[in-house]
């Protein structure tokens, strides 16, 4: 799974982490520090762009939960955007749609959480 991090063009306090491929046991250990570092580097929080993610296992979800917990402790926010329906369904089945904020786009996330 490739991970790319950049600063949101809509809000410089927010980092955007683009995830892609499969987020599972094999990739979680490598991806987790990248997401955590983006959170640390951001002033207000992180947007995880899931557009390119086609599967997420419980190990992958763990990466996002850990980031969410750390964000909460630091009074920052985590937003998940552009999740494919099959990926959103995985969150829904585990009732974890209650824990994360899902948005259709970066602009919707920034407008809702950081404006």
């Amino acid at each position: 799974m490739a991970v790319e991090v950049c600063t949101s063009e809509l809000n410089a306090d927010v980092k955007v982490v683009q995830l892609s491929g499969r987020l599972d046991m094999a990739t979680a250990d490598a991806d987790s520090p990248v997401v955590m570092q983006a959170l640390e580097d951001s002033a207000a929080g992180v947007i995880c762009d899931l557009a390119g993610v086609d599967f997420i296992s419980s190990a992958g979800i763990r990466v996002l939960i850990a980031a969410s917990q750390r964000a909460q402790a630091a009074s920052k926010q985590i937003a998940l955007i552009c999740a494919q329906p099959k990926v959103y369904k995985i969150f829904k089945i585990a009732s974890l749609d209650q824990m994360f904020r899902f948005f259709k786009s970066e602009s919707e996330a920034v407008e809702t959480l950081w404006t």
Partner: protein, 421 residues
């Protein structure tokens, strides 16, 4: 650095080196070997002090666990830095007659130990494969400076010590690996012992479960708990990940649930209690998906809460349809204080089959990278629903393994079947 050494002394030293070589060759305990090398080297070299450094290849450092005269001090030196570090980097012996004039000499150890280093002879320990495994450093030749003869003598000792150390390290790695494997087997046995030894006998129901961990230890578990009035607690849990950490969390989750069940029988209070207690001390990001149900054989009902667990399949014997029991609340251990819903309940008629499973049952892939998925699991249930609970578990497992072409499991896999008869 020349100098004459009597023939008798040369023969005596050669015999000593051969004797040391023999002793070192049979010593496979690394700590004892390090002590032995230091003790013999300082004696043969007729010096005041010897230090032995080993190479830490991962950190690119030298380190010593035994430095004669320094008690328990541990010194770490980057390879390339200081005198020993330079010897390790260049693989060349150094004979330094006046250490205090050498900028690479670290005089702080002399100050700490009130020692006066007057001369240093430092040789690399190089194996037959030209690998540097350490550095031996001899300080202060008694009565004179180190001469060319001492250099040859130390190199001869160093070459024997290098081979012995290399072999001892290999033996130690092997022993550590064996000990680790034994510890993991022990952990697996403990874990296996907390899984039900036998499946419960409940009037009107046929029940069976099995867990296949993908490592020595796993994060899956299932449990049957006898309650009052012949009711039965049934639980399936899945901790994120697999291996020792999740296995420990699984044990904690199981113990908490059992302890809470012994205090009160309410399904909601039990699951909420597990969540509160786990959320207090669980590692960041970890969680347990948990399905907990109470089967009442007299009322033929199953009351349950699914906390983030995979949808449970309920095959209806009369219609052949399959219903899915979905989670309504997030997994336990993530967040304290969440509001758990009241348990839901289903009536189980004769021929109905309940299949509980963990994600290892649906996430397995075949050679074409296709997942077994829920649909195939449901079809496997329907195809085998007329059989006994044990046969259903076995046949569903075989179907999964056949689809995955018997590749090693990527995740723990648990199946529990409750069949109304």
């Amino acid at each position: 650095m020349g100098g004459e050494v009597a023939v008798e002394k040369r023969i005596s030293d050669l015999e000593a080196v051969l004797e040391i070589s023999k002793v070192m060759a049979v010593e496979k305990n690394l700590d004892a070997l390090l002590d032995l090398i230091i003790e013999k080297t300082v004696k043969v070299m007729d010096a005041e002090r010897t230090s032995l450094y080993l190479v830490d290849h991962e950190k690119n450092e030298l380190w010593t666990r035994t430095a004669e005269g320094l008690d328990d001090s541990v010194i770490r030196v980057p390879i390339g830095s200081g005198i020993a570090g330079r010897v390790a980097a260049t693989k060349q012996l150094l004979n330094i007659a006046d250490p205090y004039s050498d900028p690479a000499f670290d005089r702080s150890w002399d100050e700490k130990t009130r020692f006066q280093t007057r001369s240093i002879l430092c040789a690399p320990l190089i194996t037959h494969e030209d690998k540097v495994v350490g550095v031996v450093q001899v300080l202060n030749k008694k009565g004179r400076q180190f001469i060319e003869y001492d250099e040859s003598l130390l190199l001869a000792l160093a070459s024997h010590a290098a081979i012995a150390l290399d072999q001892a390290e290999l033996v130690q790695h092997y022993v550590e690996k064996k000990q680790m494997a034994a510890a993991l087997r022990f952990a697996r046995d403990i874990q296996a012992n907390v899984l039900p030894a036998e499946c419960p006998s409940v009037e009107g129901f046929d029940i069976h479960g099995h867990c296949w961990p993908c490592d020595e230890t796993g994060g899956d578990y299932y449990d049957f708990i006898k309650l009052q009035d012949e009711r039965l607690g049934i639980t399936v849990g899945d901790v994120t990940g697999h291996g020792v950490g999740p296995a420990l969390l699984m044990m904690e989750g199981r113990s908490l649930l059992r302890a809470l069940v012994s205090l009160q029988s309410d399904v909601r209070e039990t699951v909420a209690g597990v969540n509160e207690l786990l959320a207090e001390d669980i590692q960041e990001g970890m969680f347990i998906t948990l399905f907990y149900a109470v089967l009442d054989p007299q009322a033929r009902t199953l009351s349950y809460i699914s906390a983030g667990h995979e949808p449970v399949f309920l095959y209806r014997g009369q219609t052949g349809e399959v219903e899915q029991i979905e989670s309504k609340v997030m997994p336990v251990g993530i967040l304290a204080g969440i509001n758990f819903p009241e348990p839901e309940s289903v009536l189980l008629d004769r021929g109905d089959v309940l299949l509980l499973y963990t994600d290892g049952a649906i996430d397995g892939r075949n050679g074409q990278d296709e997942m077994f998925n829920r649909q195939r699991l449901q079809e496997a249930l329907v195809a085998n629903a007329q059989q006994s609970a044990k046969e259903i578990v076995t046949c569903v497992y075989d179907t999964i393994r056949e689809f995955c072409e018997d590749e090693a499991l990527d995740d723990d896999l648990t199946l529990v079947v409750v069949k109304a008869i």
